[in-house]
């Protein structure tokens, strides 16, 4: 099992309040496993002895200048190389104290980064995609630099690796939502462009990590939805012709990490060895939705091997050198040693084919550099939104503006804060509407209910409001989505409706006649998909009650508070739905908002069981019951006929199967 050991602090961070990044631009390996060079995002390069947790030297560029590329250490010449102000390459040695006195060279184009790994020469990658060896560039600093990338294309991440025979510069770019991988070989130079498969629209990889193993370069990348993919490129891939198209880069899903609520924002995945991936900024599967964890996952078995909670904000930056993970979090920059023993179970079970001894000999060449994609601004907007201002807006603004604001709020992707704000918002709107008869925003309320973050206890006024405004659609939605509506409220709402119906002179007899017509096949034209629209035309209860009856009925049946009137009404409604079903038997109308046939039958049975004596005694219902009886009887007869047919068909089936079971038969076969 992989393990994370107790970490220690390398240095403190002094990030500005709410600044999205950690203030660290890059960490690079130095002469041995105990030294690293840390470049911060402004002016300072520091050399640390890791085990002593202390800086050995520090170099600073003059005020007014900034470091735009992390400093790297060239082990061959024992020099440091950094880029300042995009165009100035600075080279110095450890005993140079003042950086401005050290060597400088200004080049003709913007530099993205300088890369250097052990065993390779320093390489300069320009903003527009060109690559030069540092030595050849310095021999003529003002040499013209070509543009490789198209104008809209921008580098998002880059690295450099050295294989047995060649050096590679690898970088990824983004262009209008598409991501590309560039593989630049040096000596001889050649460039290959790959197109990364698209993830869900709008998702860009959060981090990349590259490793080299068995003559293949493996690219590992993490998406905000928690998917970690691996793409493998052979180092011996044929050299493409000039101007060739971007090749599609096949990928395989290595891990599907739990993301908790919403998408990942600042996260990073680093390949540690062929079986382990370190991930930061992703929730621990057994510790809620907090994303401040550092975890090691085993990709062979898809298991979590070690996890550690990191105090403070995670910036989505992670480096690893010599079995140590370097991670800035909160206000500290920590070093966490880890151990990934290679499990032999995977190879024993055939999950890993390649021999492990080879890998042990091969020094894994890995460069891990992070970047933070996109701005995190959206996240902060909501936090910074002064809630009182927003509430004020909701309480005073006209209907249109309120609707617009609600729409805007709901369109935000980070749902974490949404839960609380939706509740607040709904109650604000409901109370305002109750107090102000002129103000009502049905569409916004429906949208809010649809988020499913609401319940009756959060916003008890909402149902009352819907009833008061006779918004039956909203009422139905509430009855359907709110799990905690008390029965009293349900019944009260229905009874209130009946009274209203009575006052309006709602004629049962008329409606019944109409539904009879339907039963006799008179009205066949009305077969809309939307049950509600059909109900509008012919339902004995009228749309508003039909709509209410469905979600309410389950509750009602269990209670005895129902009045006589509601029983009759409900039975009529059920009969109507039943007839409707028997006419459109082949049409599946089971949406969320209409009952299924078995449900209707159950309810009808329950209702008749519970109230049969009362119903029989009521003269109004007699006809209805007789009608129902007649219809059910005909249906039963029809079904029994169908049953007989089914039986004979099954018999036929059996006969065909049973052809030979005996010990001896004489058959005819034909071969063609």
């Amino acid at each position: 099992m992989a393990a994370l050991y107790a970490g220690y602090t390398l240095r403190g961070l002094a990030p500005a309040q709410n600044r999205p990044n950690s203030g660290i631009q890059g960490v690079e390996a130095e002469r041995d496993s105990d030294h690293v060079v840390v470049t911060d995002s402004t002016r300072c390069v520091t050399l640390y002895k890791v085990s002593d947790q202390k800086p050995l030297s520090c170099w600073t560029v003059k005020q007014g200048h900034t470091l735009t590329g992390a400093a790297v250490y060239n082990a061959r010449t024992q020099e440091y190389v950094a880029v300042s102000d995009r165009k100035v390459i600075r080279i110095w040695k450890e005993d140079d104290i003042i950086l401005d006195k050290a060597f400088k060279a200004t080049v003709s184009s913007d530099v993205w980064r300088v890369h250097c790994v052990a065993g390779g020469d320093p390489v300069v990658l320009f903003h527009r995609g060109a690559v030069r060896l540092l030595d050849s560039l310095l021999s003529a600093p003002q040499q013209p630099i070509e543009e490789v990338l198209s104008p809209e294309e921008a580098i998002s991440w880059s690295t450099n690796i050295v294989t047995e025979s060649q050096q590679f510069v690898i970088f990824t770019t983004e262009q209008k939502g598409d991501h590309f991988l560039y593989l630049q070989r040096l000596n001889p130079n050649s460039l290959q462009r790959y197109h990364l498969e698209r993830e869900e629209p709008g998702l860009s990889p959060l981090s990349f990590s590259v490793s080299y193993r068995d003559k293949h370069i493996r690219l590992l990348y993490l998406y905000p939805n928690g998917h970690v993919y691996e793409s493998v490129v052979s180092v011996r891939a044929p050299v493409p012709e000039e101007g060739a198209q971007a090749l599609p880069l096949p990928r395989s899903l290595l891990l599907s990490l739990p993301v908790g609520e919403g998408l990942l924002q600042a996260a990073s995945a680093q390949e540690l060895d062929e079986a382990h991936v370190a991930v930061v900024g992703v929730p621990h599967p057994s510790a809620g939705s907090g994303k401040d964890f550092l975890c090691i996952w085993n990709t062979n078995f898809q298991t979590l091997q070690a996890g550690k909670e990191m105090a403070g904000k995670i910036y989505g930056q992670l480096w690893s050198f010599w079995n140590k993970l370097f991670i800035p979090h909160g206000k500290t920059f920590s070093v966490i040693p880890y151990d990934c023993p290679k499990s032999s179970l995977a190879s024993a079970l055939g999950k890993q084919r390649q021999s492990l001894t080879n890998d042990q000999v091969l020094e894994l060449i890995k460069v891990r550099i992070q970047f933070i994609l996109g701005s995190l601004a959206k996240h902060f907007i909501i936090k910074m939104l002064n809630k009182s201002v927003f509430n004020l807006l909701m309480q005073t603004a006209p209907v249109e503006e309120v609707q617009r604001e609600v729409q805007l709020l709901l369109s935000r992707t980070d749902t974490q804060d949404l839960q609380t704000s939706v509740g607040q918002l709904a109650s604000t709107l409901a109370s305002r509407s109750l107090n102000d008869p002129a103000f009502y925003t049905p569409s916004s309320l429906v949208q809010l209910v649809h988020t499913r973050y609401l319940c009756h206890s959060v916003c008890p006024d909402l149902v009352l409001l819907a009833l008061e405004r006779k918004d039956y659609f909203l009422c139905q939605l509430c009855l359907q989505f709110f799990p905690d509506i008390p029965e009293v409220v349900t019944c009260a709402s229905l009874i209130a409706q009946e009274h209203e119906a009575g006052l309006n002179g709602f004629s049962l007899a008329d409606e019944e006649d109409r539904s009879d017509n339907l039963a006799e096949g008179g009205a066949t034209a009305q077969r809309d998909n939307e049950k509600a629209s059909a109900a509008e035309q012919m339902c004995p209860v009228g749309l508003h009650k039909a709509v209410l009856l469905y979600p309410a009925s389950a509750r009602l049946l269990r209670s005895n508070i129902c009045t006589m009137l509601s029983n009759v009404l409900f039975l009529q409604y059920l009969q109507f739905v039943y007839l409707k079903f028997s006419h459109d038997a082949c049409k599946p109308t089971q949406g969320l908002r209409s009952p299924s046939l078995t449900q209707v039958m159950d309810w009808m049975g329950l209702l008749l069981d519970a109230h049969f004596t009362v119903l029989v005694m009521t003269p109004d219902v007699k006809d209805l019951l007789l009608n129902l009886h007649r219809f059910v009887k005909s249906q039963v007869r029809f079904v029994s006929e169908l049953g007989k047919i089914e039986g004979s068909l099954q018999e036929l089936d059996k006969m065909a199967l049973k052809r030979d079971v005996g010990q001896y038969s004489i058959e005819i076969i034909e071969l063609f």
Partner: protein, 696 residues
Amino acid sequence: NLNVPKARNRKIQMGEFKVHRIRFFDYMPSAIRAMAFSTRTERLALARADGALEIFNFSDNYFQEKVLPGHDGRAVEALCWVGPRLFSAGLNGEITEYDLENLRPRYTVDAYGGPIWTIGVNSQGTLLAVGCEDGTVKMFEVLKERIQFQRNLDRQRGRIISLSWHPSGTLIAAGMMDMIRIFDAETGRATHRLVVDRGAGASKSKEVVVWSIAFLSDYTIISSDSAGKVQIWDGLNGTLIRTHLITKWDVLALSVSQDESSLVAGTSEGTVVQFQFLSSTVDRLDKDWVRTRTFKNHSHDVRALAHTETAVVSGGMDTQLVVRPLLDKVEKNTRESAIRKVSFPHRSLVCCAKKAGVLLFQFPDHLELWRLGESDGYGKPGGSLPVKRGPEKLIQLKRKGEDHICCSALSPCGGWLAYSTVTSFRLYRLLNGSISICKVSKLPKDLRPAHQLCFSTDSSKLFASSSNSSVVVVALNEPECKYLGTLKAKYGCRQPVHLLSASENGKWLATANTDCEVHVYNLDKLKLHCTVPVYGSCPTAMAIHPTTSNLVVVHADQQIFEYSLVKKEYTEWSRRLQKQGLHSLWLERDTPITHVTFNPKNPAHIIVQDLFMFCIIDKSLPLPEAKNVLYNQMTLRSLPEPDRVLHSHGFKICKDFQHLLCVSLLEDHSLVVVERPLLDIVSQLPAPVRQKKFAT
């Protein structure tokens, strides 16, 4: 009546056959008791409950190349290879060495220790140790021609159920009741006593039986017992290292791979559990036995196991031999990675008298003679005909003596019947339409027990294969049978003949032996005519064409050859077939062709049969190419007649009948198909151990 001519017209069509579908051959294989695998020769020896032994050649498509018939008193409990020699020990208290060239026991030695439970040889192949009921481990010295009792190790209380030699040959671990003993093989002293826990609960009072034991070169002892445990012991200190409880029932068998990195244990539940010697992490040295895989390929007890380099071989009460490749050792999705089950013998137990319409079924202890039924009228393809007269069992002939029947034959006219055991040969005359039988008492003395029997087509001669690949020819005459001569292959042929085939015109006889040699004799001169070039795979079936005198041989690797006896060379068709290659699906079939026959109405037809299909090879049609669908009968059926030509090829494969033990073409052009559904065998097995299933 207009219907009759129409029906007649249809009957003339080429591909239409009347099929006698027979399912009354109650062949019941015997349970598998013991196994031994020889890495040197790649042969697996397998012992069945009835005492029969089978030798499978794992390097030649798992072909069952030899069968040594059983014996009533012999209950083989353990098997052991010593180099190329095979020894068995059983509950009759005897150790037997087998003569694998003459397919019979070579000699038997009584150990005088009561029933023998186990046998083991040291790695040098010089000493044989057996564990006896009376608590002794007896050592026998392996000499060139025999074995000789050397001495007893310290006698223990209770029987010795299992034993295993340490590879150095200095120590022996023996599994007993409730304990394991370690002996010093030189002094014979018991040095350690390892106490094995009994099961928990009610079984606490029951003795635990150490069913199987393995002594590894690092002095680790692995034991499996009746309490469901696999235990790992330190053999030097006699301490228990680890216990794996793998079943509620018995763990009956163990087998360790050659490199001692993996071991398998077979349980009464029918599962095989694999353990591997792994370190928890790659770069560390401390390794441990870790349970890795579980295979469930059996419904009943797994009694015998063998761990080959690439596969786990298991067998038990359910009579099937299962070869389960380990996927980390073989290339995935190849022929080697497919699981194999051997449920039926790779030779024919059914003999069909083509002229008389009589079938002979061979059982280990008796023979059955059946006459086929009759029907009248014609039917449509796919339908069945009314049976006018049902099949009739004419004779049931019980064998004499304790030896099981090893081969039998029925003459094509249905007038002669012969069978042989390893000790005796019997010939019978069948009279009055095969209902009365009388033994032919005067037999030439050269007619000794045979490995294979065959009658000539005109029923005038009997061929019996005997030792050193020779064949005895006997003329069948009413009062007395006359010895005509012995056909001898060249000097040096020692392997038994397992296939005999006489040509229809009585001129040729072809023999095949397990050294893959095919000899053809001229019966007029009683001399060797020619030898077919030796092919690297064992012939599984062969026949001589009645008109062209071409010999068709099918091998264990599914290759088909046609050899012209007149020109003494492969025919044009055979060359074409080899050049183009057989269809990959044909080569992937995992049961050998066990019968080859011809269609007298169409000389271009060769009919071959394996367990799951029969195939009419039409030499006049193009061979199936890789892009063609091999099993195309369903497609052709659905096509209109003119289109069929476009899609048809030379291999017309019928898979309507399964678990075929015999397909034969009678003289009246009707096919005889003998099926033995696996389900019928399974239904005759005893109930497996009870397993708790959900909601029972």
